[in-house]
Amino acid sequence: MSASLHLDLLNDDERFSSSPIRLRVMVPLMGFLLVIGTLFGWSFLAFQAHALSTQKTTVETDITGLKSAHAEILRLRQQEKEMAASLKQLAFYRSSQLKFGASLARLPEVVPANVQFTEMRVPTPPPFMPDPKTPNLGPTNTFESVSLRLAGKAGGDRPTDAVNGLLKALDNNPAFSNLIHHAEIPKGAFRQDTARGAVNRDTLLFEINCTCQPRRFQ
């Protein structure tokens, strides 16, 4: 009778797994691969940063090269804005212009023979009071009233009719419609000429206030 003898002559540290992948080799290998991968990733990013930095320098150089040409167009645009704004401000002035000459030239046609003017007045515009908060803003109202005041005396047989006729003509005659909006005799402005003595008691002093077309600065 025979018995098999099994001799195990391996030390513990000489035992290997049957698997061809050894953990003690693979773990450091994976570690190294991870390091290499990280370094590769970093180098890729560094390359990208370098490329972008070069591109940035190139674009900046291009921009510097175009600066003078661009400054010229900016100057032209600024000048255009300035011109447009100046024209707009001058247009305010032009639109406010009121012509007196033609209407005043037609005035003798409607003045009765027994009416004589002693004074004709168009008051000058009042001085501008700037708003201390916005001194550079200029006037904010776009409207300026204009008036024409006629003072005179009327004699003859029917001085009242003569003055009323004149008033009516100023108010309604198309010759004055471009200038005069409305004409009226202020209260108390139609009175007897007491200063001239008893002989001329029939002479009447009068005033006619004409509201002219306003000057519109817009």
Partner: protein, 210 residues
């Protein structure tokens, strides 16, 4: 706090070495990630944004520059329009005096119409309404007062002729007074105004390219 290292001590020497190397690699990776990768990635993002911005600026500049001639024509047309308008009636000082300029302008008209100018006076400038956006060079209304004598027909002819010959002159004041001594000749104070240069505002300069 204590760390149980008995598990590690029981491992075989090669395994221990392998784990230590792996741990070292992970530490190196973390260090590279924190010290190099993340800052570089931030730098890349920043650069990418900057380059995109610069490229947009460059493209805008190129587009702007391509339109230079068109812009020049537009600007020149407006400049010409303004200069033509001002040439028709902006009042400028003559030898430092606006009154002298006014007299020089209207003396021929007065002679032509028979109105005798005796005195000329410059009144304070009245500001004009300011549009938005405001121009750098502001304009105002410059009144000039002419005192003289003439018949009513001469005074009116003078006013009408000035309005015709000076397109930007506007009558802004008038006083005709009858003279008892000379019933046909009246004293007249005629005030005309013209547009004139006013203050120059300081405005921010055109935005330069970055």
């Amino acid at each position: 706090m204590s760390v149980d290292v008995s598990f590690f001590q029981n491992l075989k020497a090669p395994t221990k070495l392998a784990l230590l190397i792996a741990a070292g690699c992970v530490a190196v990776c973390v260090a590279v990630l924190v010290l190099a990768v993340l800052p570089t990635r931030t730098q890349v993002y920043t650069l990418r944004t900057e380059v995109a911005g610069l490229n947009a600026t460059l493209a805008n500049m190129k587009t702007d520059i391509a339109g230079t001639e068109k812009q020049r024509a537009k600007t020149d047309a407006l400049t010409k329009e303004r200069d033509t308008l001002l040439a028709t009636g902006e009042i400028e000082p003559l030898l430092g005096s606006l009154a002298m300029r006014g007299k020089a302008l209207l003396d021929p008209v007065a002679q032509q119409t028979g109105f005798a100018i005796e005195n000329v006076k410059e009144l304070p400038l009245l500001p004009l309404q300011v549009p938005a956006p405001a121009p750098e060079q502001l304009y105002g209304r410059q009144p000039i007062e002419f005192t003289g004598k003439g018949s009513f027909a001469q005074i009116v002819a003078f006013i009408a002729a000035v309005e015709e010959q000076q397109p930007l002159a506007t009558l802004s004041g008038l006083l005709v007074l009858s003279q008892p001594q000379t019933p046909e000749i009246h004293k007249a104070i005629v005030t005309f105004e013209w547009p004139a240069k006013g203050e120059k505002q300081k405005t921010p300069a055109a935005k330069p390219a970055p």
